[in-house]
């Protein structure tokens, strides 16, 4: 065994040479932080650092479970990410299926280029755009409503209830064209003979979408859904963080923004790390469960 390893090393040393920098990077920036997770069980102080602060066991976890924020941030995270998951799965798939039915290549190319463009807008600029467009006096939204109803609408950012809709639908606006690309590509691989056969059997185009096209992309859909499952608890922190204000906090405070708030803004590192760890573990369980489930129902698996 030892000898074999030595032999392999002798043969492969150049490959390992390639991996020196990548592995060093992974070690320092992906694995070393895992050791840092122990501060979730300690009372982190600048002096004690990761290794020598006092152990406090599960205190921070219990504090979190017992705090009034617990149900709020978990509820907000789950609702926002499931809402977003549904909208951002259904719309791209629907778009791809309809797109695939159209038979004008030039027209399709123009449409596809335009609808994918917003994907490249940065989060900061997107939030800027949302704030400008939905400004109730100078924005497009305010102008249109004023023209229809005769009076300026109220500020939509001031109501916590609007937060989720703003978040989810601006995301759909920005990304549906991009997300659809993968489905469109999968659809272009549908066997034309299947369509021909279905047509001879008298299937209309709509029926062929239902019974030929859709089954063809089902495994892609499932695969992407599993990957999304793993992200359920880490839904769009960067955007939420920008959209957050004191008026919508009751709907917009998520686990991740709370970790930032407690940890870096209030320097309560241990408590924040405990919350983050709790979050990561749930994430891991979700992705493993989703993978198992999909193996069982459809033979599709991530690994």
């Amino acid at each position: 065994m030892r000898k074999r390893m030595k032999l392999a090393l002798k043969r492969d040393w150049q490959y390992w040479l390639f991996l020196v920098i990548p592995l060093a990077y992974l070690l320092i920036f992906a694995y070393y932080p895992l050791l840092g997770l122990q501060i979730a069980f300690r009372n982190f102080t600048a002096k004690g650092g990761i290794w020598n602060s006092t152990w406090v066991g599960l205190k921070h976890f219990i504090n979190f479970f017992e705090s009034y924020q617990f149900t709020r941030v978990i509820g907000n995270t789950l609702i926002l990410s499931l809402y977003s998951l549904v909208v951002n799965t259904v719309i791209p798939i629907g778009f791809a299926l309809l797109f695939n039915c159209v038979e004008r290549p030039r027209f399709k190319k123009v449409v596809q280029t335009i609808v994918t463009l917003p994907h490249f807008i940065s989060v900061v600029v997107l939030v800027g755009i949302i704030m400008q467009i939905f400004n109730s006096r100078t924005g497009l939204y305010g102008i249109i409503l004023e023209a229809i109803t005769g009076s300026y609408p109220s500020d939509i950012f001031a109501k916590a209830g609007n937060f989720r809709h703003i978040y989810v639908w601006s995301g759909a606006w920005q990304h549906f064209g991009w997300s659809a690309i993968i489905y469109i590509a999968a659809l272009s691989g549908v066997d034309l003979n299947l369509h021909e056969a279905a047509r001879i059997d008298g299937a209309s185009r709509l029926q062929r979408v239902r019974y030929v096209d859709f089954p063809h992309i089902k495994s892609t859909i499932i695969l992407l859904l599993i990957m999304d499952m793993g992200r359920i608890m880490s839904v769009g922190f960067e955007k939420v963080f920008l959209l957050q204000n004191d008026l919508n906090r009751s709907a917009s405070e998520l686990i991740s923004t709370y970790v930032y708030q407690v940890g870096l803004a209030q320097s309560n590192y241990s408590y924040a790390t405990a919350i983050g760890l709790f979050n990561s573990v749930i994430n891991l369980i979700l992705i493993l469960a989703a993978n198992k489930l999909s193996q069982r129902v459809s033979d599709t698996s991530l690994w």
């Binding site: 492969d12 150049q14 490959y15 040479l17 991996l19 990548p22 990077y25 992974l26 320092i28 920036f29 070393y32 932080p33 895992l34 840092g36 997770l37 990761i50 778009f95 309809l98 797109f99 039915c101 159209v102 027209f107 399709k108 449409v111 280029t113 335009i114 994918t116 463009l117 807008i121 940065s122 900061v124 600029v125 939030v127 800027g128 755009i129 704030m131 400008q132 400004n135 100078t138 305010g142 102008i143 004023e146 606006w173 064209g177 993968i182 590509a185 008298g202 209309s204 185009r205 695969l223 793993g230 963080f241 970790v259 940890g263 870096l264 983050g276 990561s280 994430n283 992705i287 991530l302």
Partner: protein
């Protein structure tokens, strides 16, 4: 016999009509969605080219009102935009070069079936995709390395994305046949030589794809810089944009010209529109030209990891 064929042709005509209707429906939906995407974009571009007063009075719909370049002229006088642009270009160029290099270094051994350690390294890599230490431990690492408030804090923590390594590995595996590896080895070609003489030239398409992914990421990211930088001189454009667009905070203390400060006060809205355009334009212009590469990247990435 005859009747049957007549029936069939009538059926076909009916079906044809309904299919045509469905086709029209699809085209209609596509046009609708395109308009939905375009409307806000048009509104922003038009507002940026309108007279600032018209913008703050809320008179701009879809076309510029009282066409004027005033807001652009004023934005270009705003020093933060230049500074941010300069820094962002630096982060994008240097960062992307570093990213692509390290990604290739990692993807190459993983794509070679002759490399005995590839399963293990693969697992090490995959694990980082499903479990991570999270914000605070990562922050502490950057702090311990004394990278806070240096350009390294922006460049190094995101040095390599596991996802990009996997699509690069997949590309090499599927496009550069194993026989080539064997032949090269028989001829006494070492892995390093093989990488230089075969892999690099043959993976140009995937290098272009991941370079674009990384570059867009650098251009658009703000959060690492926000977490790790205090020094305004190092801020990327997005961080200045956050102040201006999201917090409505034009840093008037650094605008020395009092007249300029006054302009900023009065024309905040119009300025925001032109800043949005200036910050987004480069990507929007480049994207249609390189669209097919991006799409190819998605295809390669969709092969199971």
């Amino acid at each position: 016999m005859k009747r049957q064929s007549m029936n069939r042709s009538r059926e076909k005509a009916i079906r044809g009509a309904s299919d045509r209707r469905f086709h029209h429906f699809c085209v209609g939906i596509l046009i609708f969605l395109t308009i939905v995407v375009l409307l806000p974009l048009m509104n922003i571009v038009s507002a940026s080219f309108s007279n600032p007063t018209a913008v703050s009075q809320g008179r701009v719909w879809l076309l510029p009102v009282d066409f004027s370049l005033d807001s652009y002229k004023n934005v270009l006088k705003y020093e933060a935009v230049w500074l941010g642009y300069r820094n962002t270009i630096f982060y994008t160029v240097v960062g992307t070069i570093m990213n692509v290099t390290v990604t290739l270094l990692c993807a190459f051994p993983l794509s070679q079936y002759q490399f005995a350690g590839r399963k293990t390294v693969n697992k090490i890599l995959m694990f980082t995709m499903i479990f991570s230490g999270g914000m605070i431990p990562s922050y502490l690492v950057v702090k311990e390395l004394h990278m806070l408030n240096t350009v390294w804090a922006v460049l190094v923590p995101g040095l390599m994305s596991a996802y990009n390594v996997i699509i690069t590995r997949n590309y090499i595996e599927t496009n550069i046949p194993g026989e080539l590896q064997d032949a090269a080895r028989v001829d006494g070609c070492s892995p390093v030589k093989f990488f230089r003489n075969f892999i690099l030239p043959l993976s140009r398409p995937i290098i272009a794809v991941i370079a674009m992914y990384y570059a867009v990421g650098h251009w658009n990211s703000y959060f690492n810089a926000f977490l790790y930088l205090n020094d305004r001189e190092l801020y990327p454009l997005q961080l200045f944009l956050r102040d201006i667009l999201v917090n409505s905070r034009f840093d008037s203390s650094i605008v020395e010209d009092p007249e300029m400060a006054q302009i900023i006060q009065n024309q905040a809205d119009a300025l925001k529109y032109s800043i949005i355009v200036i910050a987004t334009l480069p990507l929007m212009c480049v994207y249609p030209l390189v669209q097919k590469h991006f799409v190819k990247g998605i295809m390669v990435g969709s092969v199971k990891g």
